[in-house]
């Protein structure tokens, strides 16, 4: 019973935060709701006994990524008039309706669906007796997924280099003639 209560309260908050992230006019507010979202999700993970994931969710997502967003928002220091929204036209309305309906259908199917799958051996008890969630995840990560793990490190390094290269300030002048022309038409 307490588990259900926990779930429903967390789920309600997550839904609310998600909506706020998408709808806030100010990016800073959005980012803050995103952080909330991430923390709440971490809570859900923990309730599912995925402690390791819950931890890195907080560390990496909330601690690193959203902070990065914050920095960028402040760095750009957008003018209020640029926080405009999409003008809603006929196609947009259509797509909006279609998307919502599609998701509603999927959600409805999920509510009454009965997911199936091949059960593995790592039940909660097995994990606890084997040395806890973090230990077992680590074992899998460094044995079965060693190669992808190493590749992931390569990916991170590439991303670091790429970010530096892309964000590097190498052009003194802000826009060329062609760009301006393009903007004027845009």
């Amino acid at each position: 019973m307490s588990q259900e209560l926990l779930f429903y309260s967390f789920a309600g908050l997550i839904a609310l935060c998600s909506v706020m992230v998408v709808t806030s006019r100010n990016p800073v507010i959005s980012a803050i709701f995103l952080v909330g979202d991430l923390f709440l999700l971490a809570g859900l993970y923990a309730s599912m006994e995925a402690h390791f994931i819950a931890a890195i969710q907080i560390l990496v997502y909330a601690g690193a990524i959203v902070v990065l967003f914050m920095f960028v928002i402040m760095l750009l220091n957008l003018d209020p008039d640029q926080r405009s929204q999409v003008q809603i036209a006929a196609p947009e309305v259509g797509v909006l309706a279609l998307t919502v309906i599609a998701f509603a259908v999927v959600g409805g199917m999920l509510v009454f669906g009965q997911p199936t799958g091949v059960s593995g051996e790592m039940t909660a008890e097995a994990i606890n007796s084997a040395g806890g969630n973090t230990f077992t995840v680590g074992m899998v990560l460094y044995t079965k997924y060693l190669w992808p793990f190493e590749l992931a490190s390569m990916l991170i390094m590439l991303a670091i280099i790429a970010s530096i290269v892309i964000a590097k300030k190498d052009r003194p002048k802000s826009a060329t003639e062609g760009d301006k022309r393009r903007l004027a038409h845009g």
């Binding site: 990016p27 999409v86 997911p115 393009r182």
Partner: protein
């Protein structure tokens, strides 16, 4: 009893929010955040699936997704900065380089 269906419905809703954000927000930063939201909904599915099936592969996947998300956010934000430097805006209505 909280079944997996609960988690899946929640994830669906989050994904919907993310999708709508990507489609209808004009601020590139918001677009990126919405993408994070979508990624997180997928993570939720993975973790709940992992618990249901008693298989840790799902959690490992989440680990990788977080890695990729970090990279994506890094590169994406770098591009946002570069775009802002060059065009002075991050409004997608004005960024139409792909126009044919």
């Amino acid at each position: 009893m909280v079944s997996i269906n609960h988690y899946l419905v929640l994830a669906t809703f989050m994904f919907l929010c993310g999708t709508l954000g990507v489609l209808f927000r004009r601020n590139l930063l918001l677009v990126l955040m919405s993408i994070e939201l979508m990624l997180n909904s997928v993570n939720l599915v993975f973790v709940s699936g992992s618990r249901l099936l008693g298989n840790l592969d799902g959690q490992v996947m989440v680990f990788f997704i977080i890695t990729v998300a970090a990279c994506e956010a890094g590169v994406g934000l770098a591009m946002v900065i570069a775009l802002f430097r060059r065009y002075g805006t991050v409004d997608t209505n004005f960024l139409r380089i792909l126009r044919g």
